[in-house]
């Protein structure tokens, strides 16, 4: 019998974030990209107390928690800033997408989605009508920066997933 989920609440900030959790790769890592954006609520207001987790499908050579040393980690964690912003510096994934979980006060269980770096033929993307499809595709901004906003509710609401 599965243990039920409960909200992460507003007070995780001194416990779950860890040093350089958002840096899956060091600054000088060849081919590093930045995935950045904001988390917004149903009124379009920023969510300043969300926690995001990024997963690339394998732990990688750098480990999941320890950011010392070179190489690439497959896992990152980033709390949002007062303007709802987050960012991850990561290697490019082997898949066209990265998996993303968002926790927050007011979310009794996390929302899961995917960040597609490009709009490519893909079983999930191809199953969605254009407006919903667009919510999963990051916007390329300059060299190696991808913008991906998470809309929890309302206009432009992100497509959330379960398996």
């Amino acid at each position: 019998m599965t243990t039920p989920s409960q909200t992460v609440g507003p007070f995780f900030g001194y416990a779950l974030p860890y040093e350089r959790g958002w840096e899956l790769v060091p600054e000088d890592h060849a081919g590093a990209i930045t995935v950045t954006g904001r988390v917004l609520d149903g009124a379009g207001e920023p969510v300043p107390d969300a926690l995001l987790e990024l997963w690339l499908g394998e732990t990688g050579t750098r480990g999941a928690l320890d950011r010392r040393g070179p190489g690439a980690s497959g896992f990152g964690r980033c709390p949002t800033t007062p303007d709802g912003g987050y960012r991850f510096r990561t290697a490019r994934p082997a898949t066209p997408y990265l998996a993303l979980l968002v926790f927050a006060r007011g979310l009794l269980r996390p929302v899961m989605t995917r960040v597609y770096l490009e709009d490519v033929p893909d079983p999930l993307l191809d199953s969605l009508e254009p407006a919903l499809r667009a919510t999963l595709v990051a916007r390329a901004e300059g060299t190696g920066t991808y913008r991906f906003d998470v809309r929890l509710q309302g206009e432009g609401e992100t497509a959330f997933l379960e398996f």
Binding site: S5, F12, Y14, E45, F103, L108, R109, F160, E162
Partner: protein, 222 residues
């Protein structure tokens, strides 16, 4: 249904944050990255991080307790070497977080955050202080029952679980919209730790047992 619905109006923060559409049900294929999860190395987590009463120069105030249990998959098998993180208030019901404005004292000897990896039987064990109830502004005279937040990984990103462990017999249960958001008394019961005389250490600390069962993975479903 085990998990609370996203929209649970009695818990006001859900009103503008609950998605309006149900999640899209995705069929997993073998390459689906959400079927895997980070692997944690023992060098990444210090064994002292599991004792929240020894993180400062002195001992924290309050009732010392031992919280232990197992992390299991849907078939009841242990999940080994998985990361368990906890955080909580001090004995007075105050978080060591700058946003917590509850006028209860901070304890200079208690931060209230710990983590460990499960052993080969899926077991974890923390030594901590029994947390306190505290008021919040959800509604008039709203109080959270004492709880310890748990964060657990498992073997698939789809199993990722953040929850709260409560203490048996808490009189605040009927009044708490977060606890009550879980559908059905049987599921709510799974969030309540059991007093455990076998985990209790004589002349030292009471023991509580809290087992966590993670959801089925898509592979197990197919």
């Amino acid at each position: 249904m085990t998990h609370p619905p996203y929209l649970s109006p009695a818990y006001r923060s859900t009103l503008l944050r609950a998605p309006s559409r149900p999640p899209l049900l995705l069929k997993a294929d073998p390459d689906t990255i959400e079927l895997t999860s980070p692997v944690f190395g023992h060098h990444e987590v210090d064994e002292h991080e599991a004792d929240l009463t020894r993180q400062h120069s002195g001992e924290p105030l309050g009732e010392r307790i031992i919280v232990s249990g197992r992390i299991l998959d849907a078939a009841g098998r242990p999940i080994r070497n998985t990361l368990v993180e906890i955080w909580q208030t001090n004995a007075a019901g105050r978080y060591a977080h700058p946003v917590d404005r509850h006028p209860a004292p901070l304890d200079p000897n208690f931060t209230g955050a710990g983590r460990c990896l499960t052993d080969d039987d899926g077991r974890y064990r923390f030594v901590t202080i029994k947390p306190g109830a505290y008021p919040w502004r959800n509604h008039h005279n709203a109080w959270r029952p004492a709880h310890i937040h748990f964060s657990v990984f498992g073997t698939a990103f789809t199993q990722r679980l953040v929850t709260q462990m409560y203490f048996p017999g808490d009189p605040l249960f009927p009044f708490d919209p977060i606890f009550q958001s879980v559908p059905g008394p049987a599921a709510r019961e799974r969030l309540i730790a059991a007093f455990d005389i076998d985990a209790t250490e004589p002349e030292w600390a009471l023991g509580y047992r809290f087992d966590v069962t993670l959801g089925r993975t898509p592979v197990e479903d197919s």
